[in-house]
Amino acid sequence: MKKIVQKKWFSILFWVVVLAVIWEIAASFVAATKRGPENILPHLYQIIGAAFSTQKVNQTMTASQLVLSSTATTVFRAALGFAIGVVTGFILAFLMKLSGAVEKIAFPYLMLIQMIPILGMAPIILSITGSINVSRIMIAAILTFYPVATNTLEGFKSVEKEKYELMASYAAKKRSLYTKVLIPQCMPYFFTGMKISAPMAITAAILVDTLQGDGGLGCVLSQSLRHAMSIYVFWLIVFFSAFLGIISWKLMGWLEILCTPQKRPSLRKKRPGSSEETLKRKEIKVCTREKSRFGKRFHRAEVSGQ
């Protein structure tokens, strides 16, 4: 019993249950005192019931069908913007690492971008680009871009001086310095940036949806808030978008494990070859090889001297 209590999932479950109980108590209270309780705080079972009900909320679809189909459109747009943002963010960080001038130019502006309320600018970007799809992708990309760029740059900067010295002592080319040391080391930072920005990209996509009616979660959300359809659709979307945000965040964690196998906790024991360790072992190997070569040369020199 004690073992179960100490597990992390148990305490998560505990808090989720606590929150659900609080929600239910509040919902009963609201139901007893207010008119139209479903607008303020419906019972959880009512929301779940709405998800599985077969009643159609508009001409063609039930509530969950509508939510899922609009999710597909929203997520697709968010993902496209996110991918563009990640790639440009990484490239910018790389260029900033590569050249001091680029860093000097770009870094202050990178800080400034953070201050600009991009989400607040959504309507203006919409009117500049003219197309809601382009503006949605653009906003998601800009929001993604900043955390990825700063975190990756931080990762590049976190490389210890000793590693540079070591690579210099091997007379390593700049290219192999990047592929063998810098890029592997910045990977955890890069993924941290992606973890921060994935939920933001989804928020951005939903927000831009609310501006114009062509499907997508945000569009349905605002329709249902205006009582154009069942209010339960609104609650479903609230829960579902929270779920999407969390899933996108988790997904980045899984992607990180997939891309950096040495961090996999299950494999850590079986295979002692984590990147750090293999690097070290290789270093040792190379060091001994170098030493022996030097030794030989030294020996030869001695011999020839005689």
Partner: protein, 256 residues
């Protein structure tokens, strides 16, 4: 310092000579020239200031309440680690909830807090901002409270310090830089969160609301004026934070 300034001048020149408009395929109506935006700000200075006041109030109050709550959660997690780990995970989930989903819910929940629209609306916005800031602060504060230097921890143990003493003398001072890390993210995000939740709020004041209203009325120059104001507010609040950070860190620096 020279390069960024040159880049900024280049950007302004591109903007003023309408080359930027050509690149973005837009006109001076949707992307007005800088002079026009400045003119709008100067003409409507008092209105803009009133709206800015509403937004800054909400953002700062939300940031304050959220940060204190987040810090308290972190303290509780350190004291009760068994159940706390889960609480931290659940709080961190709040960062992943889109503001767009939170804001309308909060509007519904805070309907009864006051009969005055401005107060009611401010309460709901403050709660949203606080929730967003809380998660960020609790994670950072938890790291600050637990990632103490091993030798200081050993020293405290060797001196038979009570848990309480250890908390006051070691853990809390150690968490100060982490609080600033959280605030550096929290200050800009509190302003952005306020602006976005204003889109959904009842009350018609606030920078976000004005941006939306002006765009609905196709007053793009006025909307740009509010966007510029929002940037200025964000940058100045960040600068204030940096100054406080510098002062606090200077005091904490080891005396020689």
């Amino acid at each position: 310092m020279l390069y960024p300034v040159l880049f900024g001048i280049l950007l302004i020149v591109l903007w003023q000579t309408k080359i930027l408009h050509a690149i973005l395929h837009t006109d001076t109506f949707t992307l007005p020239l800088l002079g026009r935006i400045n003119g709008v700000i100067a003409d409507n200075f008092s209105t803009i200031m009133a709206n800015t006041g509403v937004t800054v109030q909400v953002a700062l109050l939300g940031l304050l309440i959220g940060s204190i709550a987040g810090y308290l959660i972190a303290v509780l997690v350190v004291i009760f680690p068994t159940l706390g780990k889960g609480a931290l995970a659940v709080t961190s989930v709040f960062t992943a909830i889109p503001i767009v989903a939170l804001a309308p819910v909060m509007n519904n929940w805070t309907k009864d807090t006051s009969n005055v629209v401005s107060v009611r609306s401010a309460v709901s916005k403050i709660i949203v901002v606080a929730l967003v800031c809380m998660a960020n602060m609790s994670i950072n504060a938890y790291r600050g409270l637990t990632e103490v230097k091993p030798f200081s921890e050993d020293l405290m143990k060797a001196l038979a310090a009570s848990r309480w003493k250890m908390f006051i003398k070691l853990r809390i001072p150690n968490s100060v830089p982490y609080i600033f890390t959280a605030l550096k993210v929290g200050v800009p995000s509190s302003i952005i969160t306020t602006i976005v939740s204003e889109y959904f709020a009842e009350y018609l004041m606030g920078i976000g609301r004005q941006i939306k209203e002006n765009i609905l009325m196709a007053q793009y120059a006025a909307a740009w004026a509010y966007i510029v104001t929002a940037c200025v507010v964000g940058i100045s609040l960040y600068a204030v934070l940096m100054i406080i950070h510098a002062i606090v860190m200077k005091k904490r620096a080891p005396r020689s």
